[in-house]
Symmetry: C2
DNA sequence: GTAACCAAGATTGTTAACAATCTAGTTGCC
DNA sequence: GGCAACTAGATTGTTAACAATCTTGGTTAC
């Protein structure tokens, strides 16, 4: 059997199309399904108690999202993502999240400023405690919050799609020496620039932050080639 | 029957999943299927001689692309796009095509400069002849060429998706008084900035061009509300 | 005359069986 | 021993029938 339910955290009960999609997507994003791993229809059927038709359309949708690869008569497998591709995705995120930051700076309310600044404290606490897991989560919270504040649905959809493809590398980047403190500083700058209401500044700061992630990725690449 | 094959230009012969997808997508983009129009499965089956399963997965894919709307037990219809949404889409295009222009400026070869500049002449000819159709086509050619030159696959995929959603408005914008000559000037500026090799300049010029399209859309909106 | 109700037709959702294709292991030949 | 052809099993693709749901038109009661 090529697929097994490693952690029993999620319910393997009867599922619909969307259920299978989210289950497999989460599995890939959490790293439970390895890149290149096969995803036979029969396994997913018995694992999630869904009909084969449901599994089939779910796989079609995941292929369309770009996280699953399908070959005719050869089935589906988890699409591997190269570091070059991760760089491209982060570059694309840089410009789209830059747009979000600009719009957010224009549209942010007083209450939203308050809850956004609360995330700064979360970041500090996580970095001081050396908690990489909490740091990564707070990071994602910052980006999600700014995306929501921007109220730009088109950009939000695009980022949803990009995120699912690249999340696998986030943990790796966070593990680079000195990365958490640098990232924290950048995130706080982003938060403050959005709260300032200056759209141009917010966009520039967000872009600079994500381009620094690109640099970190390429540094990662250099480290890998060294070994 | 809610669906009819108005023009007999495309082949209504036996089709696979991808065949149905491209046929319906083109139909929507060319305006043969009106916004809100119903797309009953049975009609598509007899029209494209495809199996119902194929039609079904095709509709699921089109829904995922955001150009078709489906409701449970109520079928599929062409998704209407509001002008607000068209503005959002164009804003998103502005930043992503800006990225492409920057990369294209860095990566363009001598031959590519030549073929890109040839498009400037096409634009001039079309505007001088007052041929809106040829003008629109040349416009799209410029954007596609820069996208290809950038060699940024992630951005290319995102633009593919955005394009299919917004094309319906392009003709309308082109019909605004004075628009073709303004658009021609902007496109030529974009072409020259990419050929100059200055990534920052190329990005700025491309963004300015698409933000001027946003202005034109909002002007269109004002005109509509006036009536 | 209006509104609630009901039934028939149309449309979509689901399931199961069958067909086509690929993979891996085995056998036979050189 | 190595390579090619073959066969059995596994896996995916396709089709058709059945079930569930919605829409529409007419009917009836008030």
């Amino acid at each position: 059997m090529a697929v097994s339910n490693g952690t029993a955290s999620d319910e393997p009960s009867t599922a619909t199309v969307d259920g299978v999609v989210t289950a497999v997507r989460d599995g890939i994003m959490q790293g439970r399904y390895a890149p290149g791993q096969r995803l036979p229809e029969a396994d997913l059927v018995s694992l999630y108690q869904a009909s084969r038709g449901a599994v089939r359309t779910a796989l079609a949708q995941l292929e369309n999202e770009g996280i699953v690869l399908r070959e005719r008569n050869r089935g589906a497998r988890v699409r591997p993502i190269s570091l070059d591709e991760a760089v491209e995705i982060t570059e694309a995120r840089a410009v789209v999240e830059g747009l979000c930051a600009a719009k957010a700076a224009q549209r942010i309310t007083t209450e939203e400023k308050k809850s956004l600044r609360a995330l700064s404290d979360e970041l500090r606490t996580a970095v001081e405690a050396g908690d990489v897991m909490a740091y990564t989560r707070a990071n994602q919270e910052v980006h999600r919050a700014i995306r929501d504040i921007s109220r730009h649905e088109t950009a939000a959809h695009m980022l949803d799609r990009l995120r699912t493809q690249s999340v696998r590398y986030h943990y790796t980047v966070a593990l680079l020496p000195g990365r958490p403190s640098v990232g924290m500083r950048e995130h706080i700058e982003v938060i403050e620039s959005v709260c300032s209401g200056d759209a141009d500044l917010a966009e520039k700061t967000m872009r600079a932050h994500l381009m620094s992630v690109v640099d970190a990725l390429q540094q990662l690449d250099a480290n890998l080639h060294q070994w």
